[in-house]
Structure formats: C-alpha cells, structure tokens
Amino acid sequence: MRRDLQEILCCPVCHGDLDLAVITEDEVEVLEGTLHCRACGIDYPIEDGIPNLLPPGEGAF
C-alpha cells in the first residue's frame, strides 16, 4: 500500500479516517502494518502490501 493512496481510504464500518502504523516498508510502499480506526477501535492489518479492510468478522483468511 502506497502512502499517497491512504487519503482516500476509510473505515468500512464508520467511514472514518484511519491512522497508519508501519511495521515494514520499502522505497515504494508499506508492506506490513496496521490501519487503526479511532472511532471503532479496530485495527485493520496490512499484510504483503495489501490492506485487509474487510468488516470485522469477515476478515479471517
């Protein structure tokens, strides 16, 4: 996930803004990390560069 595309992301539940926490990134994009919704208190994981923004309960894979 590239940082410049974060601006149009939102929480799939409340549509609020998400805070990015980076674990690993390369020169292009964030590879591992989380997107946190302050309103809902939910952490959405970023794994292998792909944000998992499935609503809670749907995200197991």
Partner: protein, 290 residues
C-alpha cells in the same frame, strides 16, 4: 443459506479459482490450455487483442461479462475504483488509460485473488494500481473520492445489491459515473438452478431481473441510468467457471435445461451518473453506516 454463508461460499470458490490459475482449468480440471480459452472468451466479450496483450500473464481469468465500454470512457488523471477486481485484468487496462496522473483501486473480498493481482501488478510494473481486501457492500473508500466506478460481472454475487449501489454513490464525486457490466435475468430461473450454490457462484442465481436492477441503481440516487449494451449470456462463458460447471455435473440437470439457460440470462453494460448537486426526493442520506 444466509447472506454470510453465501459470501463465504463465493469467497471460497473464487479463492480456488485464483489458486488454480484460471477459470477453465479449475479444481475439477478440464484438461485444456487455459490462457487461450480465457483470451478467446475475452475477445468475444469485446476486448481488443492489444488489451489482452497489454496485461501481465495470469491477470485475465476469463471470469467477467466484459466491460470494454467502461474502459474506453476513462480519461487521463481519473481515479477509478473496480468493484470485485479479481486478478486485476480490468484494473491494469484502466491503469493504462488513466495514465501516471490517474490511479486505479481494486477491491475484492478474496485474499487469494488479491495476492495474484498484486503479483501481476509487480510483474507489470504498475505504479498507479492498488488493491484492497474489502467488501463491495462496505467499501473502505472515503466519500466523494472517486471519478469512475467500474465492475465486471460481480455485483450479482452480492447478497445486498441495494447497499452496493448506495456505497458506490457515496464514494463517487459529484458528477462521477458508474460504468458496470453484470448479469441480469430475462425471466425467472428454473427452481433447481435458482437453489444451486454452484449456479450462484457462477453468476446465475444471484442475478436479479433487469428492471429490478435498474430500479436499485436509481433508488441509490443515480441519474442518467442507461443500458449501453446487452447480449445473451452464452453458455460457454458461464460454464467456463468450474463452479458453474458443477451445475451440470453435480445437479444432474437434463442437457436440454442446461442448454436453454442462455435464454434466461443476459449480460448488460450500464452507465449512470451521480448528480452534480444532491437531488431532493431520491437523494440517499449517509445512513449507509450501520
């Protein structure tokens, strides 16, 4: 079967298709060479040879109804959202059209599909395409942030189609457009097919009537709702999907009924516009939140 069970079934089936490398040679294995079959299907759906050659190998799984009109309408610099982006075929074609100043976001609820899409993006060196794991009924995309929504034979799979269109309306900018293809029913399916999970996953039994479909789009607030193209859904396209093939093998439907299914279903290409200013009576509220 509940909505959640249906979603799990769709996700599982398309995950298997992603792992198997394409729609034709799925888990059941038909013994044919997959890529030429998928390319031939796509040609028949209206994609140009140059489109098929432009995308990374493995991006075209031959699963859609075809959405070439939508792709042709894209302008440089636009932000495009693909609902149900699969292995990324339409995203990569869209990326070429919107150019380096535009961007394309693909949303799909199947992790295996997104992994393939991401590998394809890396292989093709696409800098303006991003993928997110998400549901099209709960789009992880901010209000009013997208110029064009495209979707290729996916919305029929969503249990709550009205919600999908409300979400599409929400994320589009004023003046933004919906350019989608999908399957619709021309008349009710036979009971045995309607109740088949295989038929659901194969884009058959989740489809609704054409007029009902148009009404849902209008009810979400869209204006200028138009069908740009309509064609019978040919049986070999539907049954290219291994899960749809289960209709024939597992359900023991008579060959005559299977051969006649093409009369029940059509592929449409639809365009609609989000008005520049919020209308009054039909304007959706932001009550799409739970």
């Amino acid at each position: 079967m509940t909505d959640d069970e249906l979603k799990r079934m769709v996700r599982k089936s398309y995950g298997e298709i992603a792992r198997s490398g394409g729609s034709c040679c799925g888990p059941s294995g038909c013994g044919c060479e997959s890529a030429p079959v998928q390319d031939e299907i796509s040609r028949r759906l209206g994609y140009a040879d140059e489109d098929l050659q432009a995308v990374p190998a493995g991006a075209n799984l031959g699963l859609g109804c075809g959405n070439p009109i939508a792709l042709a309408s894209l302008q440089p610099g636009e932000t495009v959202l693909d609902l149900g982006s699969g292995a990324g075929f339409d995203c990569f074609l869209a990326a070429g059209r919107v150019g380096p100043d535009g961007r394309v976001i693909g949303v799909d609820m199947t992790a295996e599909m997104l992994s393939r899409a991401r590998e394809n993006a890396r292989a093709g060196g696409y800098a303006n395409v991003e993928f997110r794991l998400g549901e099209i009924e709960h789009l992880p995309v901010a209000d009013g942030s997208v110029d064009v929504i495209v979707s290729n034979c996916v919305i029929n799979l969503a249990p709550d189609k009205a919600r999908v269109f409300r979400e599409a309306f929400r994320v589009l900018k004023p003046g933004g457009r919906l350019m989608i293809s999908d399957t619709v029913l021309l008349r009710p399916l036979p009971d045995g097919v309607r109740q088949s999970v295989g038929a659901y996953v194969g884009c058959l039994s989740g489809a609704i009537g054409r007029q009902d479909y148009l009404d849902l789009v209008r009810d979400a607030g869209f204006h200028e709702v138009r069908i740009l193209g309509e064609s019978p859904m040919t049986l070999d396209c539907m049954t290219n999907d291994p899960t749809a093939r289960a209709i024939m093998t597992d359900m023991n439907l008579p060959p005559g009924l299977v051969a006649g299914l093409g009369e029940f279903i059509a592929s449409i290409q639809l365009s609609a516009t989000k008005p520049e200013r919020r209308g009054s009576a039909s304007s959706p509220s932001f009550s799409v939140c739970d």
